[in-house]
């Protein structure tokens, strides 16, 4: 019954869907898989312990926390806010594009400036809404929702697709650990470099997408040329 070996995969899927504790889910899945495959408890503990030790690389990001913590205390986020505030006469799409660029650059340099609570709600969304209202005078509820969705999306685009450009990012280290565990010799620098094309493309795709977003708003409300600078 080879198919039984997939019990671990099933446990991971169910555990994550049911929002069970992630760490416990992963450990239970590992143990169940080992048992089904006929490994002894000692074998399982040995394998688990050995790979946990060799894969400490995946947790190297902890070393970067003190310096990032200090930068935060000394105004990292405040300066990022200043940077975004500095654009004037923008459209909703332009504000959102600029935020995605800044967010992606920050993620690539491991700066933790982002986040929906810290940036999107207090800064990006009000600026984008403001730009839309300035241009179209009044926007309906559906548009307001779409602008909010686009703002939050730009945070995710920038964060997801650029973070692995940093060598010490936990995603980068996960890739290295997983591949090394499977006998492939790769290192964090190689993975970080190979992550650059997707980061650049995602910014371009985002810029095009938010430009189309602006165009659609223009169409819906009639292009008000005078407000454009």
């Amino acid at each position: 019954m080879e198919i039984l070996k997939l019990v671990g995969v099933l446990i991971v899927v169910i555990g994550f869907i049911a929002k069970k504790d992630t760490i416990a889910t992963v450990v239970v899945a590992g143990i169940a898989t080992g048992l089904v495959a006929g490994m002894s408890i000692m074998d399982i503990l040995e394998t688990l312990g050995k790979s946990f030790i060799t894969q400490r690389t995946a947790t190297l990001f902890v070393l970067t926390l003190p310096v990032i913590g200090i930068c935060e205390r000394y105004g990292l986020k405040d300066k990022a806010v200043d940077l975004i505030r500095s654009i004037k006469h923008a459209t909703a799409g332009k504000v959102i594009t600029l935020y995605q660029v800044i967010r992606a650059a920050a993620a690539a340099f491991s700066l933790r400036i982002g986040g929906h609570p810290q940036f999107v709600r207090p800064l990006v969304n009000p600026m984008a809404q403001g730009a839309a209202i300035a241009k179209y005078n009044k926007i309906d509820d559906a548009t307001e929702d779409q602008v909010k969705g686009a703002c939050a999306a730009s945070e995710n685009f920038g964060n997801f697709f650029a973070q692995n450009c940093f060598m010490g990012a936990s995603g980068t280290l996960l890739i290295v650990s997983t591949l090394v565990e499977q006998g492939q010799q790769v290192d964090a620098l190689q993975i970080a470099m190979a992550s650059i094309p997707v980061a650049v493309i995602s910014v371009i795709v985002g810029a095009v997408y938010f430009r189309i977003f602006d165009r659609r708003l223009d169409k819906r409300y009639g292009n008000n040329k005078e407000a454009e600078v």
């Binding site: 080879e2 070996k5 671990g8 991971v12 504790d21 992963v26 898989t33 080992g34 490994m39 000692m42 503990l45 688990l48 312990g49 050995k50 790979s51 946990f52 030790i53 690389t57 995946a58 902890v62 070393l63 970067t64 926390l65 003190p66 310096v67 200090i70 930068c71 205390r73 000394y74 105004g75 990292l76 300066k79 340099f109 999107v120 709600r121 969304n125 929702d145 909010k148 969705g149 939050a152 999306a153 685009f157 997801f160 692995n164 060598m167 010490g168 936990s170 995603g171 996960l174 650990s177 591949l179 565990e181 499977q182 790769v186 620098l189 993975i191 992550s195 493309i201 795709v205 997408y209």
Partner: protein, 308 residues
Amino acid sequence: MNTNTIIAEVFYSIIGIIFILVGTKSLKDSIENKVRTTSALFWFILAFTFIVGPHVPYWITGLCVILIAALTAFQKVGQSKSDVPAPEETRGNANRLGNMVFVPALCLAVAAVFAATFLPFGANNAIGISAAVALAVAFLITKAPAKNAVTDGTRLMDNVGPVGILPQLLAALGALFTAAGVGNVIASGVSAIIPDNSRFIAVAVYCIGMALFTIIMGNGFAAFAVITVGIGLPFIIMQGGNPVIVGALGLTAGYCGTLCTPMAANFNIMPAALLETKDKYSIIKAQLPVAGVMLLVHILLMYFLAFK
């Protein structure tokens, strides 16, 4: 042990010390924190595996992993009180330092690349070296008292919490899957839909598999461990695909799935509540077109770059 291994063990021990400091912070927390002792225990056991783990039989570390999993399973691990900087404090500092505050963080990334390229200590140690360089630069620029490295480092570590070791655990899970032959089972199932020698279909199945699994689980990291062992390795890397390209693009292909799923609630649903949208799926709706385009980009990039 060669030099690189010794340097690596020093860095792992420093991580262990950071864990001990987080545990100590928890112990010192007020009595009202019901889980302060068990939280401290969690960090101390984790520190033990990082510092002492390599020097004792592996099964002991295995047992430690089960212990920390039990602690988180029963919700015995929580954050303790941290010294969080007040908005006035960070604003004042920002006005004083200006854009110089970006310098240490930029150092972190640049020094890591330099150390990995020009120093003989390996890419992993380069991360530690860059952290040390950036910390020195941060002290020079901010003139922060030395204790801030501890206050702010433990604050962030506690903020990240137990989930921070998830990548490490998932890599270990991948090892168990391999030992048990899980990859082979998935591979034999998938081989039915991948025609012989069709690199393009193999790449497409891997990328779409990553996205789909991430949509189901809401977590790209977990999908990566399973799908890479089951599909990426046998059907692309073993067929001559470059592991660096496959790995790097594989995880971000999974993120295309993250953009589409309410399962990734902290990225897609909670922010919608935070922004008080009328439609709680407004973020996912905004993300769907880009997710589709990016998935296609991943498939094409992997196909053209991995077999160059």
